[in-house]
């Protein structure tokens, strides 16, 4: 299970990688492996406001359609347009080519409620027990 150190995680298996006031958002390796082959990603629009722990995107796989919650609140500044033609990027490269969107962080204090790599790792291990 790949869990990079350079980002923060939610219990719903989203990640946020922070660059200044921008956060890249995606789903974790654990999430993509649980969903199976991903067939479609319904992304928000640039300019949409997303709120921490609230609906921001939909992932559809051969098994299920699942909501993706925003790890942090903010305004969507860009979406990963590649995913429309290549939903498999989320399976193959969940932390890089398979990112979902970027936001301009509006409440940086929210970061405190997210898990770091070590905390998320033990959280995921707890799930499989």
């Amino acid at each position: 299970m790949d869990i990079p150190k350079d980002r923060l995680y939610t219990k719903e298996h989203e990640w946020a990688r922070i660059e200044g006031n921008t956060a890249y958002v995606g789903i974790t390796d654990y999430a993509q492996a649980s969903l199976g082959d991903i067939t479609f990603i319904g992304l928000p629009k640039v300019g949409d406001d997303v709120k921490q722990a609230e609906f921001s995107a939909t992932v559809e796989s051969v098994k299920a359609a699942s909501d993706v919650y925003a790890p942090l609140s903010g305004k969507v500044t860009a979406i990963n347009k590649e995913l429309a033609a290549h939903p498999e990027f989320v399976n193959k490269s969940p932390y890089d080519k398979g990112y979902f969107f970027t936001i301009e962080i509006s409440a940086s204090g929210e970061k405190a409620s997210l898990m770091d790599e070590a905390a998320y790792k033990s959280y995921v291990e707890g799930l499989s027990k």
Partner: protein, 443 residues
């Protein structure tokens, strides 16, 4: 499967096995007041008695009238080959025939239906069909609401009132706002549209030909709609597309319509056929199912349900629509109908409708007191102004053997003296002349 009900002995044996004394005991948990009482059914009748009774009731319908009624549903010829093919048990008795390993024939038929709808409408993708023209239009409106994230919908009042009523009732508990643009001289009003079109508009809905029969080129309307980031939806009459500019050519994003005119008999209550086609980028918002072509592990061409994710299987509460089904047998009729008449045949069919209607216009124009409205070009349906209420005239014409048309006062205020007359390829010159003579006598 046997449909013979259980015998008294079988019922007794089953009751004994589960340890209760009567069928009534099975419903013991339901308070008596909520249980069904006696259904008070008469004793059974023999097959002969039932047939005689039903025939007597059926004879009350006036089925032999020469038909000039349209209003969204049209009296077209249906070739005998169509019924013969559709009644094959492989098609007729199959239930949810979508398993690719055993339903290649059915899946191919639906794929061909979708291809036909795409070619007729000039759009990229068609679904496997919907219930009828009205539900298809409602689904299109909701696609636009989801796609744009807006909730205002502008509807031209030339859209069939049945469809408008369905739009309003389906959305009565959703936060969708409708604005109706009144038609001017039977045509969609560009000024009316400009007044209401804004950046809160999700969609603009037009019908072509509109309810008064008027044919329009909505290219300019669509351009304006797109400037505001809204979607343009067209409700169309498929037979007319044999000669008219398609919704795709006009730039529309979604086209829907009633497919009854493609080989489905007129009947009170259906089943009819809703069709829907859209641009590729809207495919994920489409309700229902889509059949696609693919290759199997040996590289042979085959057909599968490509898109069914909006339904119960995967998306469940996230589904885009409650539509989990389609009108497979009616869609098959449409596909066979178009295949039977062919590309050139469909053009000829449309042209014959148009020519017959023009002949009827010229003939009726000679009836004293009757005015044929000619403010717009029409396809096979047009409006006439009568010197007395159209409703009255229709009743008098039934006595003469004609279903004379649709009295527009039923749907539009202040139009009591207007009659909507449809003339399909089935109407002969002789019928049209007699129709005209009878009108002359009645007025």
């Amino acid at each position: 499967m046997s449909y013979v009900p259980h015998t008294q002995e079988e019922i007794k044996a089953m009751l004994k096995t589960i340890g209760i004394s009567s069928v009534e005991d099975l419903f013991g948990d339901i308070p008596r007041g909520l249980r069904a009482g006696s259904f008070d059914l008469p004793t059974g009748s023999s097959e002969f008695e039932v047939t005689r009774r039903l025939k007597k009731l059926a004879a009350k319908n006036a089925t032999g009238l020469v038909n000039f009624v349209g209003g969204g549903f049209y009296d077209h010829f249906i070739p005998a080959a169509l019924d013969a093919l559709v009644s094959r048990s492989e098609f007729y008795t199959a239930y949810t025939p979508y398993q690719p390993e055993c339903s290649q024939g059915w899946l191919q038929a639906i794929y061909e239906y979708q291809t036909i709808i795409c070619e007729l409408t000039g759009l990229d993708v068609s679904n496997a069909s919907l219930y009828d023209g009205g539900t298809a239009l409602y689904e299109a409106a909701m696609m636009a609401v989801r796609h744009t994230g807006r909730n205002k919908i502008i509807v031209d009042s030339g859209v069939n009132l049945i469809y408008r009523t369905m739009l309003y009732s389906y959305t009565s508990n959703l936060s969708v706002e409708f604005v109706e643009i009144p038609v001017v001289h039977g045509q969609s009003s560009r000024d009316g549209l400009a007044k209401h079109l804004d950046d809160k508009t999700a969609a603009v809905i037009m019908q072509n030909p509109n309810f008064f029969g008027a044919v329009d080129d909505h290219t300019d309307v669509v351009e304006r709609v797109h400037k505001f980031g809204a979607l343009a939806i067209a409700s169309v009459y498929p037979v007319s597309l044999g000669m008219l500019k398609s919704p795709g050519e006009m730039g529309f994003d979604i086209a829907t319509g009633e497919g009854q005119s493609l080989g489905i008999p007129l009947s009170f209550g259906g089943p009819y056929l809703g069709f829907m086609a859209a641009r590729q980028e809207l495919v994920r918002q489409m309700p229902g199912r889509i059949v696609g072509a693919t290759v199997d592990m040996d590289g042979k061409r085959g057909f599968v349900l490509t898109l069914q994710t909006r339904e119960q299987h995967i998306r469940r509460e996230k589904a885009t629509s409650n539509i989990c089904s389609n009108e497979a047998l009616c869609a098959l009729r449409a596909a066979i109908f178009v295949a039977l008449v062919g590309r050139e045949g469909l053009k000829e069919l449309a042209e014959n409708n148009y020519r017959n209607a023009e002949f009827a216009k010229d003939t009726l124009a000679k009836v004293s007191g009757l005015e044929v409205k000619r403010s717009s070009p029409t396809f096979n349906e047009f409006t006439v102004l009568l010197p007395k209420p159209a409703n009255e005239v229709v009743y008098r014409m039934i006595e003469k053997g004609f279903a004379a048309g649709f009295p527009l006062g039923k749907f539009y205020k202040g139009m009591d003296n207007y009659l909507l007359v449809a003339v399909t390829e089935k109407r002969t010159k002789e019928e049209i002349r007699k129709f005209s003579d009878s009108l002359e006598a009645v007025l």
